[in-house]
């Protein structure tokens, strides 16, 4: 295929490392995101194992209070911003152009920059452990606990700077994805022929474009409060800690949908293909996803029922929150409708998708429960909420991601992951996940607050805490089995073929892994399930032309340099102005080179 990518200036051989550092290919960037996201998933997992080990027995002595508070804060930040979001972005990167029949995303260099900036944000946040000063105010960082009076060390500065940088990456990639989906669809792919996964991606992009500016402003205000003596969130001087909560949750609630919608999209791709029948109620699922996106901006204060909101806001926000249960319910019905009447191939990807339906439903139902403010008066900040979010984020988001991994691994590598070991791994994850998180419902009912590093023995919390800790070790085995499966599979020859599942969407119409230019001939789309339509109407694949004249963007190291510049600006914000100044110079050099770089 090398000849197909006939661009000037990079015909000489480059080292593998250099290729990855300078790539602007959405598929390579997708792989970078995936590997990075999974690495952070492991770090977040280690944090979780430590937390659960401390809580295995009453009055645990494995961790002290300070370290425990750092770990639960970093566990949430790592999993949300550095594991689930990047793994979601990995699939977005890899599959948006393949799903819509494009050669790359709209802005390939911006795409590379997004990755390097995300990595910078992750490194800034995680490096806080090296200084023994990881953020310890919870991922929600409620003022005024997080101001310089109550949190004098650097932890919360790592938090603000790390998240602003990581947020910048998400903002850039969301704009990139939205523009790509709007402008670069193959001929015939109308919006209502877009795969559901693309629709969910599209909704997620807008959720991030609209919500990230809010948190960025809030984070900068917090940074100013801590470093420049402003008082946006400090009481007594005209500031208001409740303002922080509004700003945080105006971002924080849409963020939940940012985490779950991609997995809903994956399941909506996997289930029809494995059931060998079209998705049940495409329009309803698309509209439900969009409705969730819109409603998601009108529910933030349900995180704040206990702050003294007053009567009317409680009515309003409980009504809007419960309303989200409706489109969510519609989606569950439609997935079940997709299975109904099918001839379901029970692959590991199917297992994870069906697991997603069952587990996500549990998280969805408990979410509607504490949408009721009186019930929330008992649930808020108790283990019931911990159970809820983990059913949504592990039972939902992570199960969906694993389904996607098993489904798309052959496309990305040309190799099918081992199904037997995949299913054994699934059962470890499924059983471990339920043993870890279901007992937390019981603990919540028994009045155990969350974010406590210790508890007494005589409160009836011992048994279920111990069971939850056992569960997390079973989860660890499941994750290790998955990693082993990946390593073993990568050593085997690539025999998966282009289309091992009989897929309906365009990515299965090209080779596995796809060439850099994705499609030799840009496909024409005649139906929502284009490949099935072609199959049923005996429309052959277009002939590969003898000569490909496809122009692909050349690699560029300027995204990496700009990423380093932004990293230095971030590091400077935590240390000294001199490093920030250096970062600005590096960034300016990169912008200069970027602007003048020939793309022809």
């Amino acid at each position: 295929m090398a000849t197909a990518v006939g661009t000037v200036g990079h015909t000489h051989e480059e080292s593998t490392v250099w290729k990855w550092l300078t790539t602007v290919d959405h598929k390579k960037i997708g792989v970078l995101y995936l590997v990075t996201g999974f690495a952070f998933f492991l770090i977040g997992g280690i944090e979780a194992v430590l937390i659960r080990t401390q809580l295995a027995v009453p009055n645990g002595t494995v961790l002290d209070a300070g370290l425990y508070n750092q770990l639960f804060t970093m566990h949430a930040l790592t999993m949300i911003f550095l594991a689930i979001m990047p793994m979601g972005a990995a699939f977005f990167n890899y599959f948006i152009p393949l799903h819509i029949g494009a050669r790359d995303v709209a802005f390939p260099r911006l795409n590379a920059l997004s990755y390097w900036v995300l990595l910078s944000g992750g490194l800034i946040l995680t490096s806080s452990f090296l200084f023994g000063e990881a953020p310890d105010g919870g991922w929600f960082a409620y003022a005024p606990l997080t101001d310089e009076t109550f949190s004098p060390n650097k932890g919360l500065d790592f938090y603000t700077v790390g998240l602003v940088v990581a947020g910048l990456a998400s903002l850039m990639s969301s704009l990139n994805f939205a523009v790509t989906i709007i402008n670069m669809r193959a001929p015939g792919m109308t919006m209502m022929r877009l795969p559901v996964y693309m629709w969910m991606t599209f909704v997620v992009a807008f959720l991030l474009i609209l919500s990230l500016p809010v948190i960025t402003v809030a984070l900068l205000q917090l940074y100013f409060d801590r470093n420049f003596g402003t008082h946006f969130f400090t009481p007594g001087t005209g500031g208001d800690p409740i303002l922080w909560q509004h700003l945080f949750w105006v971002f924080g609630h849409p963020e939940v949908y940012v985490l779950i919608l991609p997995s809903m999209g994956i399941v909506s791709e996997v289930l029809p293909v494995m059931s060998r029948k079209p998705l049940f109620g495409y329009t309803a699922i698309v509209m439900a996803g969009a409705a969730i996106g819109v409603l998601g901006f009108g529910v933030w204060s349900h995180h704040m029922y206990t702050t003294g909101l007053g009567t009317v806001p409680q009515y309003v926000f409980s009504a809007s929150t419960m309303a989200i249960g409706v489109p969510t319910g519609v989606k569950v019905f439609n997935w079940l409708g997709t299975m109904y009447g099918g001839n379901i191939r029970m692959t590991t990807a199917t297992y994870y998708s069906i697991g997603f339906i069952a587990l996500f439903t549990i998280g969805g139902i408990s979410g509607v429960m504490h949408a009721s403010p009186p019930v929330d008066g008992q649930h808020q900040d108790s283990y019931f909420i911990v159970a809820h979010i983990h059913y949504v984020l592990f039972g939902g988001a992570i199960m969906g991601i694993f389904s996607g991994l098993f489904y798309w691994f052959p496309k990305m590598t040309g190799r099918l992951l081992d199904e037997t070991w995949g299913k054994i791994g699934f059962w470890f994850l499924f059983v471990g996940m339920n043993l870890t998180f279901f007992p937390m419902h019981f603990l919540g009912l028994a009045g155990m607050p969350r974010r406590i590093y210790t508890y007494d023995a005589d409160l009836g919390w011992d048994t279920w805490n111990f069971v939850a800790t056992i569960g997390v070790y079973i989860l660890v085995v499941g994750i290790l089995l998955f990693m082993l499966n990946v390593f073993m599979t990568l050593r085997k020859p690539a025999t998966a073929g282009d289309d091992p599942w009989g897929g309906a969407t365009l990515e299965w119409a090209t080779s596995s892994p796809p060439p850099e230019h994705n499609f030799d001939v840009v496909p024409v789309v005649r139906d929502r399930d284009p490949l099935w339509y072609n199959r049923d109407h005996n429309i052959p694949m277009p002939e590969r032309p003898a000569h490909l004249h496809i122009h692909m963007p050349p690699p560029s190291y300027f995204p990496l340099v700009l990423g380093i510049g932004i990293l230095l600006i971030g590091v400077g914000a935590l240390s000294s102005l001199a490093i920030t100044a250096l970062g600005v110079v590096v960034a300016y050099y990169a912008v200069w080179g970027w602007a003048l770089e020939p793309t022809e």
């Binding site: 209070a65 206990t306 409708g337 379901i344």
Partner: protein, 346 residues
Amino acid sequence: MGRSGPGRIIAIVFSGAVVGVLSYLLYLAFADSANTPQSTWMPMSDNTDNIHAVYQVVFYLAAAVFILILFLTLLFTLMFREREGAVAQQFHGNSKLEVLLVGVPVLIVVAMMVPSFKAIAQNTADPPKGALEVVAIGHQWWFEFQYPEFGITTANELHVPAGRAVSVTLKSNDVIHSFWVPQLVGKVDMVPGHTNHLWFTPDTARDEAYLAQCAEFCGASHANMRFRVFVDTEAKFSDWTKATAADAAKPASELAKAGEQQFTASGCIGCHTVKGNPLAQGKAGPNLTHIGSRTTIASGILPNSAEPMHKWLANPPAVKPGSKMPNLALTEEQIQKLTAYLESLK
């Protein structure tokens, strides 16, 4: 289409049995957890009765949805899993059914919303006239309770009479805390710079305290910020207010007298008030006027007796990480004196 005849019956029976047994086991576990000391499923006041009325509706509706979806997921998996020669039905949906099915979650949500609105109205209404006024102030990491009517300031143990509404004004001295007594009142936050309110009327008096703890993450010792509520009979409460409003008892034993001097010498007076001791006027720490009468010390994490008191005085941050009370490096003798004095403050 899928399995028919015996195959389908087996799938239905198996799915029903699995989901049935699972639901029953979960029910047993929930019921067991409902019967624990800090249970949220044991209403003992009008406030928690109002909550419980909604909670039950919401809980059982949620359980019904859980059972239905789990059953259908398992059933469809079994009925439609791949088999030789089967052909998947090709259909894109069913508009009538889809619109009808939108109605199902709408009905469920409305059924949850109506009782929720009722309970919101009840629990955020103004307290009844003649309610007992209490001011609760959150500190890192202990609770201060003031009774303006009686001129009482105490800490970590709230006494209230049964059958009379208690109106609590919530404040914070530093960061956000949350006031929550699972069996008496749903939580409301204590926010610095804001004043929040809640009220509840405890049902009946009992000797055993209601357990409670801070429910908003508030820093290093959030886990160690606990308190207790004693619901007394009218007479017992009246006795308690008289005793607690009075000045501290004068130390009787020699050791306790020496402890009183040590209390000044070690600087304890800078942070703690002991009513009747003109030197001890500090406000930063809990009021210790009647510390000897409380059942617990260190915001409810240690029982109140000589040995735990000794442990606490020897190194407070070791007991309660981050404690604002520093390790004063007291000698063994000083600790014994102080312990004798504090235990004498009945």
